[in-house]
């Protein structure tokens, strides 16, 4: 078995990407190759013109013929450009889309809350940027090919004209260009410095803008601007040095045309006097030398593209998490002409819930050692089980492990007595639905977020009502159809939480799983939400520390340091567990309830 995170071999990836849309690729390859080879033409034609004028050309060739070839060549080039671009765009977007599709598919298959092998930001960047670098391999392949043909062809033509001059000009020129390239590679240290200085300036501005109120209150406007001025100066100096240095290096490359022409004149001075080297030959040389600068840049680009693709493939392999590396480029339909067929509605449960048993469930976080250990509990149909405990006692981890949003490390979950092997694929709608503590909504309407693809048959309204969204919706201009997210309204934390609750209710599950609602909801709204849940008489597993909820729970599971300290009704726990008395007492003071030692009946 190879290392699971080993990147796919570049050549194999390229082959399968090409095979995804081979004709488009071929059209693009032919077009771009012609495009790259075209610069060979003007030099030859220039030489031909002067040969005609000096009477050295083959008989029958006239100025008119040369001009006609120039025009025909130019028009052909235009055709190649348009055809190649369109074919390339079509191929590129498909190849990149395929990579993105496969990455997303993989991300969606993993336990939803499990820490990704990389941060979310990095995963997003892999799907966005690395897919681009991988798809660019396609362009790289024919660019490299045509670049080589151009180089070999150009050199062959020059050598055939005058081998001695070619060598005399090309060798020193190559040394200068290679040397400059080496220096350029080292120059990144200055680049790094200016980048750091820039980050400091951006950071300082961001801090100031975010802290406007604090700065105004403290009346320290001048001081913070002075601080900005200091980092600004450092950045200014670094940038000037960086820019001038890279410009000086660039000028070595841009001057290759002139230097080469000068060297040609030097090398050919004697041979031109004797007529061995003609004006036409000089025109050919100087025209080709104009390409040298462009091509050194181009070769650098080819190397970078290839290296970048390698790095990107490695990053993508990490995100694939053990799937065969080449599954990154598995062929799947991209549905570019019409919408994909709607997924079949999820099957209704084969039999109603009779009981959910959690046995010895363990999920411990590698770094901190936090998590839950050896947790067992039983949910009976129609009852409300409340998980409570201090901050960091493992309440959220317990919910997520039960739902398969974390990989459980040991223990088992049984539904109606039968072991559930992959809770992540089973304990989800319509069997179970979940309201996380910090839900993430998608851009779109509130309705879209509640339904997430379910048929719009009035269930969104019912669910929104259950989630106590009514008064909020009434205040929004478009109610349920209000757009939220980047282009729309920004919802408060409490509203987000209730939209997530509505999303849960809309799925009409037989088990409701609800993380702590109190962090973003005010007491009254939360209580109204809970009244609805108790009225539903659906089985419910929830995290809460609200006295009112604890009092009505059929069962309380008290967690401490990731283990079950005790389970039972509030009365039982208040009698036996000092920890429960402490938590309940604190929660009650926080809400201002004059503290009783036990709930009043």
């Amino acid at each position: 078995m190879t290392d699971p995170a080993a990147p796919a071999p570049t050549a194999a990836v390229l082959r399968r990407l090409v095979a995804y849309s081979p004709w488009r690729f071929l059209a693009a390859a032919v077009g771009w190759t012609l495009f790259h080879l075209w610069p060979l033409l003007p030099g030859v034609l220039g030489k031909l013109l002067f040969d005609v004028l000096e009477g050295r050309a083959a008989p029958g060739l006239t100025v008119t013929t040369v001009v006609a070839v120039v025009v025909a060549g130019g028009l052909a080039r235009c055709g190649a450009i348009v055809g190649a671009t369109v074919a390339w765009a079509g191929w590129y977007l498909r190849a990149r889309g395929l990579v993105q599709r496969n990455l997303l598919d993989r991300i969606f298959r993993r336990p939803g809350a499990q820490a990704m092998p990389t941060s979310v930001g990095e995963s997003v960047s892999t799907v966005r940027d690395d897919s681009d670098a991988i798809a660019m391999l396609g362009g790289w392949s024919f660019d490299t090919l045509s670049g080589l043909v151009f180089l070999v062809g150009g050199l062959a033509i020059l050598l055939s004209v005058d081998a001695q001059v070619t060598v005399t000009v090309m060798v020193p020129l190559a040394v200068v260009v290679l040397g400059a390239q080496l220096v350029r590679n080292r120059a990144y240290r200055v680049r790094e410095r200016s980048r750091e200085a820039t980050a400091k300036v951006t950071g300082a501005i961001a801090e100031i803008v975010v802290a406007v109120r604090a700065i105004k209150v403290a009346d320290r406007q001048d001081e913070v601007v002075a601080r900005l001025a200091a980092v600004n100066r450092v950045r200014g100096d670094a940038m000037v040095q960086d820019r001038v240095q890279s410009l000086a290096l660039d000028s070595v490359f841009t001057s290759t045309a002139s230097l080469g022409a000068g060297l040609t004149l030097l090398a050919a001075a004697g041979r031109m006097r004797s007529g061995q080297f003609t004006v036409g030959d000089f025109v050919l040389f100087s025209t080709y030398l104009m390409q040298v600068a462009g091509y050194t840049g181009f070769l650098g680009y080819l190397v970078r593209t290839y290296q970048q693709a390698g790095v990107s493939l490695a990053r993508a392999a990490v995100l694939l998490q053990g799937a065969p590396p080449l599954s990154l480029v598995d062929h799947h339909p991209l549905h570019l002409r019409s919408a994909p067929p709607a997924a079949a509605p999820a099957a209704a449960p084969d039999e109603p819930l009779r009981g959910l048993e959690v046995r010895h469930l363990t999920h411990v976080f590698a770094g901190s050692g936090g998590g839950v250990r050896d947790v067992s509990l039983t949910l009976r149909p129609g009852t409300v089980t409340v998980v409570t405990g201090e901050v960091g006692s493992g309440k959220t981890t317990l919910l997520r492990s039960v739902l398969g949003l974390y990989d459980r490390q040991s223990g088992e979950i049984r539904r109606n007595g039968r072991v559930v092997d992959a809770p992540g694929d089973v304990l989800r709608p319509p069997l179970a639905a979940y309201t996380p503590q910090g839900p993430t909504l998608l851009s779109g309407s509130i309705r879209d977020n509640v339904l997430l693809g379910l048929p719009d048959d009035g269930r969104a309204e019912v669910a929104a009502h259950r989630a106590v969204l009514g008064p909020d919706l009434a205040r929004l201009d478009a109610g349920l159809d209000t757009q939220i997210g980047v282009r729309g309204v920004r919802l408060s934390g409490g509203q987000v939480q209730r939209v997530a609750a509505a999303r849960m209710f809309a799925r009409d599950p037989e088990l409701l799983v609800i993380d702590d609602l109190s962090s973003a909801l005010d007491v009254e709204t939360e209580q109204e939400l809970w009244r609805g849940i108790f009225a539903l008489s659906t089985t419910c597993l929830a995290v809460s520390h609200r006295p009112a909820v604890l009092e009505r729970a059929d069962q309380i599971v008290l967690l401490k340091h990731g283990r079950v300290l005790a389970a039972g009704t509030l009365r039982e726990l208040l009698d036996t567990e000092p920890e429960m008395r402490l938590l309940y007492g604190r929660a009650a003071t926080e809400e201002g309830v004059t503290v009783p030692c036990r709930p009043h009946e």
Binding site: G203, E223, N232, A261, L336, L441
Partner: protein, 591 residues
């Protein structure tokens, strides 16, 4: 140390390109002139290069000795090197000019923005402002440093080439001028359309990746809602609508190359045709033909570069417009002239009404405070109680004059806040907000807000008074230890905020108590600190916990911007019929 922003110099009229350029480039006139001279020099050198080759060809035809030919070749190489050197020096000058100017603009803009009212800041997202101060100014920097040099350089180069061609033969010059003009017109049209198409493409791309990154972030929600299929369908939908837009954008983008290709082809065809026929009828010599061909070849590159730079110019001028618009915003709070009295400050709200300005500026403003009156004697402590939205924070904002009341007066030590000097007011009123803003800087800088005139002994004294000395001694670099928002507990942050305020020796402290729970040890530290440092100061505390309220001499219960109850804390607590006593039993308003 910073120049006053152009807008605040009291100059009449709007902030325009011209005023901005005068303000920031004016002081660097000499450097700008040097830059222009160097630029013109390098272009003259570039145009002279083909002339040297022509001289070489002529010398060959005349059969000059090899030594002379080599001399001409060396002259050619010398000119090429001199040209590059000139360019680098010119670039250095232009970078300097550009960074000096834009750094100043960045600082002025920041100072200007900091001087604007809170109502301005509340209507803008911080991201938006960062984009103005950083993004737009950077674009202008880019424009000054490289674009101007290249833009002018390429324009001059094209004119020089056309001039040189005209000198060879006016018909050739005229033809190439026509080709150039036609090329530019068509190029401008095509590029205009292409830009629009690229914008469409960028929009699709942003939508596509926005959606992708959202769905990745929402994996937990999507998995637990059995909605990953829905997310994939969204992905396919976005990709589907992007494809045609992308292809259209690429096609129009390639049309620019097509036009350039046509211009190049036309130029080469004309050069070959004119050169060939004029040579054959004896109008041109062989070196003359070489010059025509060489200049024609030189023409295409600056044309394409010039087109891109004109586009850059348009972007930069949009950025300049946005910067100008930001400078044109004026603060509406007018500074007063009175100083607040020393010592503890009395506070009086006299029939104060307030409404936050609406973001769009239209629609009726909802009154947050309505005819609010109350008094706080100097040196006493007042507790403010009420549910969210009752107007507690608004009172704090009015006290630190973040806003002015719509009606009525706020008096501090008998001085109307509108008549007090802002400097004096803000140094005498300390406001501790719920969330403490920490800068990514050292502890010292965070305490002093970058005011390096505050001595360490004063800082240490304050930290002593706050019982923070043991904590400080545990820090690796003492006061110079870098702190950041994530590195401190909320209790520690709260204590630092108190230290910041006490450093200024205020006569009134407004404390917005954090609603989240501090750990008991920190809470006790805060309590002790307040006891020790409050002597001789007035305190208004927006309270969330019963303990805090008990320390207040008087309590005001607010609802909907009005006082519904006030009195001595003890009296109110003892009166079972009072609203306050009821609230402290039910407790909900304390949250």
């Amino acid at each position: 140390m910073t120049r006053p922003a152009p807008a605040s110099r009291g100059r009449a009229g709007p902030v325009t390109h011209a005023t901005l350029l005068r303000t920031y480039l004016g002081p660097q006139r000499a450097k700008v002139a040097l830059m222009a001279v160097l630029l013109a020099g390098s272009i003259a050198l570039e145009i002279s290069e083909p002339q040297i080759v022509a001289l070489f060809i002529r010398s060959v035809q005349l059969g000059s000795p090899e030594g002379e030919l080599i001399g001409v070749a060396l002259l050619f190489i010398g000119i090429a090197l001199a040209r590059q050197a000139t360019l680098v020096v010119a670039a250095h000058a232009s970078e300097r000019v550009s960074w000096t100017a834009t750094n100043a603009a960045r600082e002025d803009l920041t100072a200007h923005v900091l001087g604007l009212d809170m109502s301005f800041h509340e209507s803008r997202s911080p991201g938006d402002l960062i984009e103005r101060i950083d993004g737009d100014v950077n674009e202008v920097a880019e424009f000054f440093s490289s674009l101007v040099v290249q833009l002018l350089g390429n324009a001059l180069l094209i004119l020089g080439i056309l001039g040189a061609l005209t000198v060879i033969d006016w018909r050739i010059g005229l033809t190439f001028a026509a080709v150039t003009v036609a090329g530019f017109v068509v190029l401008g049209r095509v590029a205009g359309i292409a830009t629009g198409r690229w914008e469409d493409d960028r929009e699709q791309s942003a939508r596509f990746f926005g959606s992708v990154s959202e769905t990745i972030r929402a994996t937990e929600d999507l998995r637990s809602s059995a909605a990953t299929g829905y997310a994939m369908a969204r992905f396919h939908g976005h990709l589907r609508s992007w494809l045609p837009v992308k292809i259209r954008a690429e096609a129009w983008g390639s049309a620019i190359w097509v036009v350039m290709s046509l211009v190049f082809t036309a130029g080469t065809a004309f050069a070959f045709g004119y050169g060939g026929f004029f040579f054959q009828d004896g109008t041109l010599s062989l070196p003359g033909v070489y010059l025509v061909v060489a200049y024609a070849t030189m023409l295409t590159a600056p044309m394409e570069a010039l087109r891109q730079q004109v586009q850059g110019l348009q972007q930069a001028s949009a950025a300049i417009r946005r910067i100008g618009a930001l400078f044109a915003h004026r603060p509406t709070l007018v500074d007063g002239s009175l100083a607040l009295p020393p010592g503890a400050l009395s506070v009086r709200f006299d029939r104060v009404a307030f409404a936050y300005p609406r973001a769009g500026g239209d629609g009726p403003d909802a009154r947050v405070l309505d005819g609010l009156s109350f008094d706080v004697p100097a040196g006493s402590t007042l507790g403010l109680v009420g549910r969210t939205g009752a107007g507690k924070s608004t009172i704090a904002h009015l006290l630190s004059r973040m806003y002015d009341p719509v009606a009525g007066r706020v008096l501090l030590g008998g001085v109307d806040t509108r008549e007090a000097r802002l400097r004096s007011l803000r140094s005498r009123v300390g406001y501790v907000t719920q969330d403490v803003h920490l800068f990514d800087a050292t502890l010292r800088e965070n305490l002093t807000f970058f005011d390096d005139t505050v001595g360490d002994d004063r800082l240490l004294a304050i930290l002593d008074a706050l019982d923070l000395r043991p904590w400080l001694d545990g820090l690796p670099a003492g006061l110079s230890t870098p702190v950041s928002a994530g590195g401190l507990s909320s209790g520690q942050a709260q204590l630092l905020a108190l230290a910041r305020v006490f450093l200024r020796d205020p006569g009134l402290i407004v404390l917005d108590e954090p609603s989240s729970r501090l750990d008991p040890a920190t809470e006790a530290m805060v309590e002790r600190a307040l006891d020790r440092l409050l002597a001789g100061r007035t305190l208004i505390v927006i309270a969330h916990r019963l303990d805090t309220i008990r320390r207040a001499d008087r309590v005001i219960v607010l609802d909907d911007g009005r006082v519904i109850e006030q009195g001595d804390t003890a009296d109110l607590l003892d009166d079972p019929g009072s609203r306050f006593a009821e609230l402290s039993r039910v407790g909900t308003v304390l949250r």
